[in-house]
């Protein structure tokens, strides 16, 4: 059994792995992110990062979780209908900083954990990378330049 097949077996999925853009992707269906993190721990996969995407218009967000298994880059995508997802910090310590960063940049909530400030200082608002927030700050900057 290949390492990828053993992941599928652990997660109880028959979906095929798709290699695209340098990543081995697996569609997870009903599997939640905590079950995934537990499976990755059991296989001794190395957590790499989470990438947050703000989708166009008001379609919400997508989070992509990446692990490394023997040099193979694995990817799992989670669409977010609401602004929250379960935290994996207690299962995967390596996810601590990236969860905190995404929380501050996109104002997303990782449920089941507390946050210490990472990038932002006291008094700063969450969501500095949100499209609306950046557009608003650019408008302020331009109007200040005009003055």
């Amino acid at each position: 059994m290949t390492p990828l097949e053993s992941i599928s077996e652990k997660l109880g999925t028959t979906e095929p792995w798709i290699q695209k853009g340098g990543v081995h992707w697996l569609t997870l269906g009903a599997t939640n992110v905590r079950e995934l993190a537990k499976a990755m721990n059991e296989l001794h996969a190395r957590f790499i990062t989470i990438t947050a995407y703000q989708l166009p218009k008001n379609e919400g967000f997508r989070l992509e979780y990446h692990w490394d298994l023997d040099g193979q880059l694995l990817g799992f995508s989670f669409p977010l209908a609401a602004h929250s997802i379960d935290s994996i910090f207690d299962l995967c310590e390596a996810a601590d900083w990236i969860e905190r960063e995404i929380h501050e940049e996109y104002s997303l909530d990782f449920q089941g954990r507390e946050y210490e400030p990472l990038l932002l200082r006291q008094g700063d608002t969450l969501g500095v990378n949100l499209r609306d927030a950046v557009a608003a700050s650019n408008t302020v900057a331009v109007s200040q330049e005009k003055k």
Partner: protein
């Protein structure tokens, strides 16, 4: 009774701004809190406003020391979206630049570590060597910091006289083998200052997902040049130095040995440099809709870029950068626990942190 000592964000022991709150009992550190974000520039978002040429120049500025690695990883990802494959000569030149940058980074770090050990003569020696590495980089690229070497589908400048570069590399190797390596590996000053401090156990290194020389100094033999080769690394013969102790000495040894391995790779790449084009000249390309991810072994460890593009768009839809220091820095908290207060500057420097990269 415990008390808190704030170190930073601006402090003589820190090369760049970040804050370490050290909780101490007497002279012993019992815990620490880290604060970053003092260099936060929103580069990832800024990248979404740049076209495919501008974004390379922008991402080169994520880091002042491993600037070439950032453009290499970005170009690898963008090549995944355009279907372009750089010609063999360009792949070799990418290896040469990456290894010269590793030499530059490691020698710079060795100088800073020497300074923090109170070994000023060694600091001067390392910085003199660093100048020579930068001379080689300048001879190839015309620049000393931001080299502007990578482009989609290849590199911007050729190495027209590899033999002259090879002579410079051999001179560097000789000097490093004569001074830096023996002193760092055998000197009693270095050993007494570094041995047994700032220990990161293998188990903790695995749990924290640390990368690069810090992982290898904690007994983890991970190196993307070997595990997931890119550019022309499949054609290079080299060893991956691993040390099990997890202390500052182990990190010192790993980097010292990596300097010699980089020289070995450079000798191979320069002597086997294949003829031909350095870029896919004149080949038209378009970005397809989707996301491509690339990983590269930077001097400090794994760099990962995820680049998303929408076909027909001038700019990327998203560029996410996971830098090595972002993965390694949380380990400082565990390294300084139980350490003497006076050792903390050297311990935090032993991970070779880059806050510019981390904050982005």
């Amino acid at each position: 009774m415990s008390y808190k000592i704030p170190m930073g964000p601006y402090h003589p022991a820190l090369e760049e701004p970040y804050k370490l709150d050290l909780i101490c009992e007497g002279e012993t550190v019992i815990d620490a809190q880290l604060h970053i974000g003092f260099n936060f520039r929103g580069i990832e978002h800024l990248a979404e406003t740049r076209n495919y040429i501008q974004v390379i120049a922008l991402m080169e500025r994520v880091c002042g020391i491993c600037s070439n690695i950032h453009t290499l990883t970005l170009c690898n990802a963008m090549e995944g979206l355009t279907g372009l494959t750089p010609p063999p000569r360009a792949q070799y030149i990418r290896v040469i630049m990456a290894e010269l940058e590793r030499l530059h980074s490691h020698v710079l770090w060795a100088g800073i570590a020497a300074k923090l050990m109170g070994f000023k003569t060694m600091f001067m020696t390392c910085f003199e060597l660093r100048e020579k590495v930068m001379d080689v980089l300048q001879a190839i690229s015309g620049n000393r910091v931001n080299y502007s070497m990578n482009r989609i589908g290849g590199v911007n400048r050729d190495i027209t006289d590899p033999q002259s570069i090879l002579r410079l590399v051999e001179a560097l190797e000789l000097e490093m083998g004569r001074t830096v390596i023996p002193i760092f590996t055998t000197s009693r000053t270095a050993r007494s200052r570094c041995a047994g401090i700032g220990v990161l156990t293998t188990e903790k290194a695995v749990a924290l997902g640390v990368v690069g020389p810090v992982a290898r100094a904690s007994g983890l033999p991970q190196d993307l040049r070997r595990a997931a080769p890119y550019a022309a690394y499949t054609e290079m013969d080299f060893d991956v130095p691993v040390q099990p102790a997890g202390d500052v000495t182990a990190r010192l040894l790993v980097r010292a040995l990596e300097i010699m391995e980089s020289c070995k790779i450079l000798r191979q790449a320069l002597s086997k440099l294949p003829p031909g084009e350095i870029a896919t000249e004149g080949e038209k390309f378009v970005f397809t809709t989707g996301t491509a991810t690339a990983r590269v072994e930077a001097p400090r460890g794994e760099v990962m870029y995820s680049v998303s593009w929408k076909e027909g768009s001038r700019n990327p839809a998203r560029v996410h950068v996971r830098t090595p220091t972002f993965a390694v820095m949380p380990a400082i908290r565990w390294m300084v626990k139980g350490a003497r207060l006076a050792d903390t500057p050297l311990i935090q420097a032993s991970i070779d942190p880059c806050y510019s990269c981390t904050d982005r």
